[in-house]
Amino acid sequence: MLRALVTTCLAVVLALLFAASDSLRAEAELTGSWAALGSEDLAGDTLPVDYTGLPLNDEGRTRALSYSESQLGMIERQCQGWPAFYFVQGPFGLKIWSDAEPVKGTVTSYTIGAWEDRAPMVIWMDGRPHPSKFAEHTRAGFTTGKWEGNTLVAYTTHMQAGFIRKTGPPSSDEATMTTRFYRHDDVLTVLAVIEDPIYLAEPQILTRSFQLSATELSPTGPPCLTTFEGRVPGESTPHYDPDKNPFVDEMTKKYGVPREAALGYPETLYPEYRVKMRR
C-alpha cells in the first residue's frame, strides 16, 4: 500500500515536471554546424556595378559608383569587404557555440565562428549594455541578444564602415543590424535587417537558410591580414568619377537588367517595377 502510494506520488511529480519542462525550455538549440546551401543570391558580386536588390540612397549610389577594386591594393582598405553582416550574405556556413557562466550554467554568449577573413561574431546574452557611442568600432561590431520565445534576436552596433556588398556599395559606421534566428527541424533561417541612415533609403532585409550539418565546421578561419600590394600608404585612392564609371552598363549588356535596377534604386525592389519594365 505504502509502496504503491509512493510510486503514484513520484509518477505524478515526474509527469508534472515533464509537462512543465517543455514550456520552461523555450529556446531553440542553435549550437552546432550549419552548412551553407548556396541556393540564394549567388549573382550578387560578380560584376563591378551590380547593386540589384539594394535600396541605396543617392549618397550610397554615388559612393558605390566611385569605388574601384584597385582600392583593395591599399593596406588600410584590404579588410573592408567583410563586415558583420557578411555572415548572412557570404558563401559560408555557420559554426555556432555557446559559453556558459560556470556556476549557474546560464548562457552568457553565443559565438558565430570566423571564416576566412570574416571576424567571429559574439552575441552577448548576459544583459550587458552596448558601449558608448564614442567607443571603438570594429569589423565584427558589438552584439547583444535575447530570446523571444524560440527565436534568438541579436542587435549589432559599433561596426566599422565597410561595404554592404563587396563590389563597393558602402555601409557606414552608423549602420546597425537586427538578426533573428529561426530554427525549423534541421533548417536554420536567419533574417537580417540592416539600417544605415547614411547610405540606405530604407532598411535592407536579407534572409538566408542553412542546413544542420553532421560534418563539423571549423570554428576559426584565417583572419584578414593586410599586406603591401604596391600602393604606398598616403598615395591617392583609386576611384572613378561616379558619372563615368566604365562598368555602369555591364548588367544591362549581359543580362538585360535596366540601369536603374543595376544601380539599386529602391523602387526596383517591389513588384510594381516588373510591371513598369513590361511596359
Binding site: L2, L5, V6, C9, V12, V13, L16, L17, A19, A20, D22, S23, L24, A26, A28, L37, G38, S39, E40, D41, L42, A43, G44, T52, G53, L54, P55, G149, N150, T151, R180, Y182, R183, H184, V187, T189, L191, V193, P203, Q204, I205, L206, T207, R208, S209, Q211, M251, Y255, G256, V257, A261, T268, L269, Y270, P271, E272, Y273, V275, M277, R278
Partner: protein, 241 residues
C-alpha cells in the same frame, strides 16, 4: 504519507509556476479550431521585397542559368532543353507559378481564413490560390499547380508549417529550371517586427524532388505587411515575364 505526497506536488506546481499552469489549462481545453489556436496572425496583404536573387526573379534569366539550384543530371538536361515557345501555350503559362516557386515570384499575397480550419493564400502575380488545410479529410486526385497542402501550427516556434504534394510539374525558376510531379514542398511561415512598427513575413521553402534535384532546394523569401489591398493588382500567369 498522502499529505506529504500532496505537499510535494504542490511544491512542484509552485516551482514550475506560471509556465506550467497555462500549459495544463490548454491541455484540458484545446482550441476547437486552427483559427482559435493560431499563435500568430498571418492574415492581411503582404508585398514581396526583392532584395535577393533579383536577376532570377524580376527578369527572365537566360536558358541554362540555374546557378544555385542543386539539379541532378536529369534536371540539368531538362533545364537545358527549355523551350520558351512551348511555355507560351496557355496550358503551360502557369508553370513558374506552382507551389514550389510561387513564394519566390515578385507579387503580393492576400492571406485570409477561408473557414476556421483552412487558410487561403492568394497571389496577385499569376492569380493563384493556395488552400492550406489544418484538418484535411480528403485528397484531391487531380494534380494542380498548387497541389494539396496540409498545415499545422508549430506552437513552440510560433510558426506555420505546411506540407504540399500532388503537384503538377513546374519551374523553380521561370527559365525552365524544373521540378517534377514527385516534388514535396515543405514551408515554414514566421513573422518579425521591422523598424517603424512594420511587420515581415518570412517564408522558408524546402523542395524535395527525387526526379530532378540532387539534394533539397531551400530558399527563404520575405514580404512586408501592407495596410490594405489598395495595391493588389491581379495579373494572369505569363511565361514571358
Amino acid at each position: 504519507m498522502t499529505r506529504r505526497c500532496a505537499s510535494i506536488i504542490i511544491v512542484v506546481v509552485l516551482v514550475t509556476g506560471g509556465a506550467l499552469a497555462p500549459r495544463l489549462i490548454r491541455a484540458q481545453t484545446p482550441p476547437a479550431t486552427a483559427r482559435a489556436a493560431a499563435p500568430i496572425d498571418l492574415t492581411g496583404y503582404w508585398v514581396a521585397f526583392v532584395t535577393e536573387d533579383w536577376r532570377f526573379r524580376m527578369i527572365l534569366p537566360p536558358r541554362g542559368d540555374y546557378r544555385g539550384v542543386p539539379l541532378n543530371a536529369r534536371g540539368r538536361q531538362a533545364a537545358d532543353a527549355w523551350d520558351p515557345m512551348a511555355d507560351a501555350m496557355p496550358a503551360n503559362q502557369c508553370r513558374p507559378y506552382g507551389a514550389a516557386a510561387i513564394m519566390r515570384v515578385p507579387g503580393r499575397l492576400r492571406i485570409t481564413w477561408q473557414d476556421d480550419n483552412t487558410l487561403r493564400i492568394e497571389t496577385d502575380a499569376g492569380t493563384q490560390t493556395r488552400i492550406l488545410r489544418f484538418n484535411p479529410t480528403t485528397t484531391v486526385a487531380t494534380r494542380t499547380w498548387q497541389g494539396d497542402s496540409t498545415a499545422r501550427w508549430d506552437q513552440p516556434n510560433r510558426a506555420l508549417a505546411v506540407t504540399t504534394r500532388n503537384l503538377l510539374p513546374g519551374y523553380l525558376r521561370r527559365n525552365g529550371v524544373p521540378y517534377s510531379e514527385n516534388a514535396k514542398v515543405t514551408e515554414y511561415f514566421d513573422l518579425a517586427p521591422t523598424p517603424g512598427n512594420g511587420e515581415l513575413l518570412i517564408v522558408t521553402t524546402v523542395v524535395d524532388d527525387p526526379t530532378y534535384l540532387a539534394r533539397r532546394f531551400i530558399v527563404s523569401s520575405h514580404f512586408k505587411k501592407e495596410r490594405d489591398g489598395s495595391k493588389w493588382s491581379p495579373i494572369p500567369c505569363s511565361a514571358r515575364w
